[in-house]
Each structure stands twice: as structure tokens, then as C-alpha cells.
Amino acid sequence: MQEHDLSFVRAELVANQPAPRGQKGFGHWLRRNMFATPFDGVLTVLAVLFIAYSLPPLLNWAFIDAQWTGSDRSFCATVAQGGVQPDGWSGACWAFVGAKFQQFLYGRYPIDERWRVALTGVLFVLLIVPLLVPRAPHKALNAILLFVVFPVVAFFLLVGGWFGLEYVETPLWGGLMVTLVLSFVGIAVSLPLGIVLALGRRSQMPVVKMICVIFIETVRGVPLVTVLFMASVMLPLFLPAGVTFDKFLRALIGVALFASAYMAEVVRGGLQAIPKGQYEGADSLGLGYWQKMGLIVLPQALKLVIPGIVNTFIGLFKDTSLVYIIGMFDLLGAVRQNFSDATWASPQTPMTGLVFAGFVFWCFCFGMSRYSIFMERLLDTGHKR
């Protein structure tokens, strides 16, 4: 009966079959991602209508109808508004941004001295890029250069008054450079201060702990505007007669103290997430408090809270725009100040200026958040609990 054996064992694999016609291609993707259910279909139609309604006018305004060149407001105003454009025209006035670009960057910094700001900026980029690229060597030297040497050099370059450089007082500073100086100092001060405050808050010493808790909770409970007001109005009251602080420095102190309270809470989260065994292990090795924290706990804790730290940095960067309220002109302040410039005032100017400022802020913040995601993946050692 063996010749009637009907069983069949295949010796080789079947060649891969193409996916069924209905399960592949654009049509399938469309069905799956746009029209899976009737409700989904309705949503898709609504979304398409929304895009069709809002995107073309937006593109029109920003690019096609936009005025790219011009020397004064008449280029960006309609005939009825005293300009050259046809009635009903609406477009971005990029000519305004072009004309004011230097001012948006440097504020009222003397024109002949602006190379100093540019040089500081170039130095900053040259130092920070290798620090951010993981493969670049000499990280320790780089960090010392950026956080110790660079601030000193930048101070002499920006303020001047030494080495034959003309003294430039801070009320003349403005624009993007103020935003960047405030954020850099704020970040460089708030991280160490925040770590100290967080350690203080978890300290076993009641007096230290209480002081830290009161500071952190008070600062976190009030808006930055009031802290800035405090720094600008009350700091002079606190100091002996005759001692005056620069307004810019006062704002710096306000911003840095404010950010450090938030940083402290982020770092505390990381410290709490480190298992007790790590602390005890360090103790049993005979390490002192600072060795234990510096060598064992903080490296792990800070790594855990990188997203939180970068979020605080982003918050700080965005918050620098509030110095406008105490009368300083950062990027947003410089843009806002130019709305009332009679040469350029037109109905399109505010929107154009704000879109430009928003785009600059957005690039910095979005870049920071992307870098933090990249860093998080890089440092992920797989020790997930």
C-alpha cells in the first residue's frame, strides 16, 4: 500500500507571495489610516476641509503675497492705508524684518562695536558644538572652556571698558543677544544651584532642609513677573545706600533664582528615584557625603531626569522674554518695540514681526527638545526598572 501514500511533505519553502491586492499600496494605507470607520471618514473629511480652508491663505500670506523688499511702510500698506499695495492686500512684510534684522539681533548696541557680539556668538558656537557632539574628544577641557573661560571672555568682550574696548552699558543691549545671554547665564547658574537646593531639601539636617523647602516652594508658588519685579524694585532697597546694581544683572539674578527652584524639584525627582541600596552601597564603601553624591548618586539621578532638566531649560529660555515687562528688550521686546516705529508701522508689521520672533524661539526650543530625546536614547543603558 505504500505506493498509495497520499501524505505530502514539502521539501523547500514556498516563495514569498505578494500581499493581496487589497492589503497593499496607497489605497490600503488610505483605508487603514483615514477611512477605517465611518466616524474616521467624517474626521478625515473635516480635517481635509480644515487644511484646505486654512493652509492656502497662510502660505499666500507668508510667501506668495508677502512683500520681501522695500524701504518703508508704504510697501506693506494698501492704498487706503497710505501705501502702494492694492486694496484688500494682505501679506507678510518681510521687508520690515530685513530692515530691522540687525536691531533684532543686537538691540541698540553701538554699530561699530557689534563685531564683539558676533565674535562672542562665534566663540560660543565653536565651544558648544563639540560639547554637544558625543564623539568629539576632550569633553572635560571643552566644558571648562565653555563654563569657566568663555563667560570671562564674553564679559570683557560684551561689556568692554578694558583692553581698549569701548564700554557698552547694558541698557543698550537688546534683541537676540539679550535672550541668549540671559538663557546661558540662567542655565549655567540654575543647574548647580538647583542641585545644591535639591540636596539641601533631602538633607537630614532640619535647618538646611527647612531653608531649602521654604525657598523652593515660595519661588515656585509665584509668577516670574513678580520675581522680576522684586529683583528690579526691591533689590535696590535691600542694598546699602550708594550700592547700585545694573538692571540687567538684577534681571539675571531674578531669572536664575526662579529657574533654580524648578531645577531643584526636577533633580529631587531623580534623587528619589535612586534605590536606597545605592546610597547604602556608597556608605559601606566609606565614601563621604560629597563623594557619595558626586560619584554614585548624582550621575545616575541626573541621567534619569535629563528630559525634565531640558524642559526646565526650555522654560527658562521662553521665560527670558518676560524681561520685557521690567523694561528690557530681548528678542520679543525688540520686535514689540518696533511695532510703533513710524517708518514701518502698518497693519501687517506686528504679525510679521511676531511670526519671525516666534520662529526663532521655536527653532531654539524645538532643537533643545530634540537633542534631549537624542541624548536620552544615547545614555540609555538598558537598566530599566
Partner: protein, 396 residues
């Protein structure tokens, strides 16, 4: 076993006092305390001296002085003859109004966008992602300026107002809508509404009790909606429709009558809502993603529909993850409302700033700000903690 004798415990080890953690702790604390005390003493001394030199009398007596300035938007009666104290109350109320409305709107937009970012629909997902990434990465002050200078101030002048449905108008002076005027017997409608709410509570309790006892469900939602709409409508009809509207009328320079909402308020309210909503959306998304897929699958396996699954299984669990960060976003919104000063909406900080400039009472005004904002923070967190405790997992 003999080796046990070789280790002898002499009691407390003889260490130098320098290395005794207890002694060190006390020394450090005493040093910190003395340092802080000296610092505060120095500051207070300087302040008193400075105040004496500039002839500013400290204390809160200035609050009863005549303010002499006007406030554009006020919930309670206020004019320039009112006191500084009343001006501050006006500011506080304005802060609260914009904060409460902002929290409400931001929550709605935030939840919608957060759920939208998890939608199966590719287009909806992308639109929501773009929204979140745009608003999260620009300063709130810029969003406020955007609405105020970019959108609201380029609206047409009052004589070319944009007409909207229901007799409302939009122009560069703000948003105008009809003012309802309640006639005689209108209080009965309010009473009916209260009655409806009381009945809903009663129905809900009875329905829950019945379901526990018999397993039979009762359509609570529809009954509640019916009561909520039906009873006031009935009262409205029985009292003979005691409602008329005062429509805004176009006059030479502005619209008169009706209720007007100032552009400053609109700009602040819209900006805070849209800005905070992007953060709330991320919190909601993280909360929903934090619920394991097994929960959904188990719920489907029990035969629950997707809507019911969302309502009874996913959202109650997600809320536990969502509430604590949501609280801090609400607090952020309240604190960000102080940016009102940049566009001239009279909130607590703006009015306090005016008073500070007029009287020079810097310490008192800043103290009032601190107390009020800390109080608001505390009140919000107490309420949210209570809500969180109600929502928290009850483990047996």
C-alpha cells in the same frame, strides 16, 4: 569558633569629634543659620534705612487711600475714587476670572488634542502633533502678543464691525453680544435648575443602589439631561417667557448696549488657553499611553464596546496618571495670567504695579502678590489633591 573571641566590641568607637556626623551636622546647621540670620539682619537694616531716607512709611495703611486711577475691566463696582484696597480686589477678581475660564477652555482643547494625537486617523494625528509642537515651543508672552497685536487689533473699526450670529459683533474694540434681561418671575427658572440638579443627584444614587441590588441598569445620562433641560424650560414656559435681549447698537464711534468683552481680556484668555492646552494634550497622551494594552484587550474580551471601554476602563485609570501634572499646569496657567501686564489687562500684578509706582510701597505690594499667589497655589493643590484622592486606586 575561636575566632569569635578575636573581634571585640569596645562599644562606641573612639573617633575624633571632627569626624562625628552628629557633631558635624550641628556645626553646619549652626553656621548656616547664623549666616542666614546675619544676611537677613543686614538686608532688613539696609531696607529700613533706605525707606527712612526716601520717606516711605511702611505698613498697609496705604490700602485705604484714594486710588485715583481707573480700571478698564471690573467685575465689581469701581471708580477712581475707590481705595487702593478695592483696586487690588478688582485685580484679584480679574485674575480669577481669566484663570478659571482659561483652565476650563484649556482642559477641553487639551483633552481633544491629546486624544487626537492617539487617533487612528493619520491626518488628525498629524494636525494635533503640529499644534502641540508649535505652541509648546514658543513663549506664552509671544502668544499673547500674537492674539493682541496680530489678530485682535487688526480687526475692523467699530463702524465696519463683523456681524456674527445672534446679534453679536466683533471689532477692534472687542466682542459684543446681546445682554439678556430677565423679566418678572425669572427666579423660578433658577429654582427649577437647582431642583433639577438635586433630582439628578437623587436619581444617580437610586440608580446605583438598584444596580448593586438587582443588576439592572437605569439610563442615568438621558434622564439627567432631560431633567436639566426640561425643568427650566417648563418653568420658562409657565412664567410666560420672561426674557428679552438688549442688542448692541451701532453708534457713531462704538457699539452701545449689550455686553462687551475687551480685546485685552480676549487676547489673554485665548493665548493662555491655547498655550496651556498644548501641555495638557501631552499630559493626556502620556496618561492614556500609560495604561497597558491588556486593559483594553481584557475589556473587549468581556464584551464591552470601545466607547464603554474608554469610559469605564481607560479614562478612570488614565486620570490617576493625569491629575498630578494637570494640577501643575493649572497653576502655571494661573501664574502666567500675570503676563496680562504686558497688554494692559488689569489683573492683580498690573494693578499692583500701578499702585507700586504711585505710592512706592514696594515691599507691601510684593508681599500681597506673594501671599495671593501662594494662596491660590495652595487652594488649587488642596482641591486637586482631594480630587486625586477620590480618583486614586483603592487597593484592598
Amino acid at each position: 569558633m575561636a575566632s569569635q573571641d578575636t573581634v571585640r566590641d569596645d562599644g562606641v568607637a573612639k573617633a575624633s569629634l571632627l569626624y562625628d556626623p552628629k557633631v558635624r551636622g550641628i556645626v553646619v546647621q549652626v553656621l548656616v543659620f547664623v549666616g542666614l540670620f546675619a544676611f537677613v539682619y543686614w538686608i532688613v537694616g539696609n531696607t529700613i534705612e533706605n525707606l527712612q531716607r526716601s520717606n516711605i512709611s511702611s505698613g498697609f495703611g496705604f490700602l485705604s487711600g484714594r486710588s485715583g486711577f481707573d480700571v478698564a475691566t471690573s467685575v465689581i463696582a469701581y471708580d477712581s475714587d475707590s481705595t487702593y484696597g478695592r483696586a487690588l480686589v478688582v485685580g484679584l477678581l480679574n485674575t480669577l476670572v481669566v484663570a478659571v475660564l482659561g483652565v476650563f477652555t484649556a482642559s477641553i482643547i487639551g483633552f481633544l488634542v491629546g486624544v487626537g494625537r492617539l487617533s487612528r486617523n493619520w491626518l488628525v494625528r498629524k494636525i494635533c502633533t503640529v499644534y502641540v509642537e508649535v505652541f509648546r515651543n514658543i513663549p506664552p508672552l509671544l502668544v499673547i502678543f500674537f492674539w493682541y497685536f496680530g489678530v485682535l487689533s487688526v480687526l475692523p473699526l467699530p463702524r465696519d464691525s463683523i456681524g456674527l450670529p445672534f446679534g453679536s459683533y466683533l471689532n477692534s474694540r472687542g466682542f459684543f453680544f446681546p445682554k439678556p434681561i430677565w423679566g418678572e418671575g425669572a427666579w423660578l427658572i433658577g429654582l427649577a435648575l437647582l431642583l433639577a440638579i438635586a433630582m439628578i443627584f437623587f436619581v444617580k444614587r437610586r440608580a446605583a443602589a438598584r444596580q448593586m441590588a438587582t443588576g439592572q441598569q437605569f439610563p442615568v445620562l438621558w434622564t439627567s439631561l432631560g431633567l436639566l433641560l426640561g425643568l427650566p424650560l417648563l418653568a420658562f414656559a409657565l412664567t410666560g417667557f420672561p426674557l428679552s435681549f438688549e442688542f448692541p447698537q451701532l453708534s457713531t464711534f462704538n457699539l452701545v448696549g449689550g455686553i462687551s468683552v475687551k480685546p485685552e481680556f480676549l487676547a489673554l484668555y485665548l493665548a493662555l488657553s491655547f498655550y496651556t492646552a498644548s501641555f495638557i494634550a501631552e499630559i493626556v497622551r502620556a496618561g492614556i499611553l500609560g495604561i497597558s494594552k491588556g486593559q483594553t484587550e481584557a475589556s473587549y474580551a468581556l464584551g464591552l464596546r470601545s466607547g464603554t471601554t474608554l469610559r469605564l476602563v481607560i479614562i478612570p485609570q488614565a486620570l490617576r496618571i493625569i491629575i498630578p501634572p494637570l494640577t501643575s499646569q493649572y497653576l502655571n496657567l494661573t501664574k502666567n495670567s500675570s503676563l496680562a501686564i504686558a497688554i494692559g489687562y488689569p489683573d492683580l500684578v498690573a494693578i499692583g504695579g500701578t499702585i507700586l509706582n504711585q505710592t512706592g510701597q514696594a515691599i507691601e505690594v510684593v508681599a500681597i502678590w506673594m501671599v495671593v499667589y501662594l494662596g491660590l497655589s495652595l487652594a488649587t493643590s488642596v482641591f486637586m489633591n482631594w480630587f486625586n484622592a477620590r480618583m486614586a486606586l483603592v487597593e484592598r
